[in-house]
Symmetry: C2
């Protein structure tokens, strides 16, 4: 429940700006009695005085000053809403705001998102990158429609979201021409002592890679750990070390990163999840995105 009357708050806001009820009444084209009455109602509802008599005028109380700060933001947002909606467009276009977790391969994100362009309306994609937690917070505030990450949303979270696995992508080891040449023979044993670039431990894939390395009994030389997959790829492209990537992207990786696959990492696969708000009215493009790869939905509640 929101026991706050925004009309009253608006009058309060104008009075605070104008410095007097008389001036505010003039600006709002209302009688001063109205302002006075509505204002005292607001004060009664909030249980605090917002103004104190000061001479024959008014002075803000501490509570009033604090309220003013909030009111400023509220009405600024209200104006922004009106102008955003009046600025035409969004007639036949759908805007999809996607948050992409640092760690997931950008090419994979692209491939998954490409499905939304098959919709019968114009789609405008707004992509945002960042950390998992940050993106989830933006999702909660409806600043994002969907978040693409490498793990489902935490189960105990107070956020009502659900996570949908978009697919499993088998992963392999890649490297620049020189490195691939050197370490291809005898893969995966050849990796022992080989320079390697890995995602940081924040990435869900990392633990799976570690497990695989251990099971294979090889110990590469870890020359770098990266939060961001694009950065990791750039280092990989320059031949600083071998790196992992989805095998499904081998062609694009060859083109864009001039790197080739050494071999697969069985059991190591990249899971991509789409996390969206649990709401009755879903975003049509999110529906399309989730429907593109028919897997079981995994409600956040479990």
């Amino acid at each position: 429940m929101t026991p706050l009357n925004y009309k009253h708050l608006y009058y309060f806001w104008v009075v605070a700006q104008e410095g007097s009820m008389t001036r505010a009444a003039e600006r709002l084209d209302l009688a001063i009695q109205t302002i006075s009455g509505q204002l005292s109602q607001l004060e009664r509802q909030l249980g605090k005085s917002l103004f104190a008599a000061h001479g024959r005028g008014l002075a803000l109380t501490e509570a009033g000053r604090q309220a003013l700060g909030y009111a400023d933001q509220i009405f600024q947002l209200g104006d922004a809403l009106v102008s955003a909606l009046s600025s035409s467009d969004h007639e036949n276009t759908v805007r999809l705001r996607v948050g992409i977790s640092d760690g997931i391969p950008k090419l994979l994100a692209y491939r998954l998102l490409s499905s939304v362009y098959k919709m019968p309306v114009d789609v405008r994609l707004i992509c945002d990158e960042g950390e998992f937690e940050t993106l989830l917070a933006d999702l909660a505030l409806h600043r994002l429609d969907v978040v693409l990450t490498d793990r489902p949303a935490p189960i105990g979270g107070n956020l009502k979201v659900f996570s949908k696995r978009l697919g499993d992508f088998a992963t392999g080891v890649f490297g620049s021409a020189l490195l691939a040449e050197r370490y291809k023979v005898g893969f995966p044993q050849s990796l022992d002592g080989a320079p390697m670039l890995l995602p940081t431990r924040h990435n869900a894939l990392r633990s799976r890679i570690d497990r695989w390395l251990e099971q294979s009994g090889v110990r590469p030389r870890v020359v770098g750990e990266f939060e961001d997959s694009a950065l990791l790829n750039t280092f990989g492209r320059e031949g600083l070390g071998l790196f992992s990537a989805p095998l499904a992207l081998a062609t694009q990786i060859a083109e864009q990163l001039a790197a080739q696959a050494l071999g697969p990492m069985p059991g190591v696969s990249e899971h991509i999840y789409a996390i969206s708000n649990e709401r009755r009215i879903r975003h049509p493009a999110v529906e399309v995105l989730c429907a593109a790869s028919p897997q079981d939905e995994t409600p956040a509640a479990l």
Copy 2:
């Protein structure tokens, strides 16, 4: 003018969350006809449909989705306002949120602010540091009550603020014991070639120092330029170079920075301005602050 009915917006928000007018009506304890009517009024006022029929239910339009984002923020702020005001305190305390420009000496800021503690109520000071422009933006949003800087607010600005000069502080050259010993004799000519730490050109004081150096015909060796005065002082304390500071603070500088004055820089003085919002109802602590040093007020309009 704010042609936005927040009550209508609130109903819209609840409907969007619940996914149907029926459920929203239940939650709001209203008849469904009310919701329906108010919602279409909102749509008429905004000039956009927010919902579209979808089966026997509703679907958000693109405009609706956009509006929802704003509504989320607005009502979150409203809740925050209510809870902030209900959480007691601010009965007999006054909160003063001060922004302190990077460049101005912290000791000076302290000295100027100390006047507010003489008020007959409890004062809680909330200090924030940052760049001039950033602080001015925060001031406009009422996130700050006053900004302490080394220059008045720009005159052409679209912000309604006024700048009050709090005082002129004659400035001198200071240095650690070793440096002071070495360069004290023959001051200021001795400064020629002496290592010196200066504020960056963003600081209003810098040009005055440069002018003085030129007029005195000395050319020190500039070993560092600092945006932040505290950082500059730290380097000065370690004896990396001579530095300028208000002569009025000589005692504290001796104590805290183990540095002593070499001599004055005539004509070079630090001006401190208090910039506050041009509003009829001023913050009482800002009044006290500005009254503490009776100088002419300089309206931002000129």
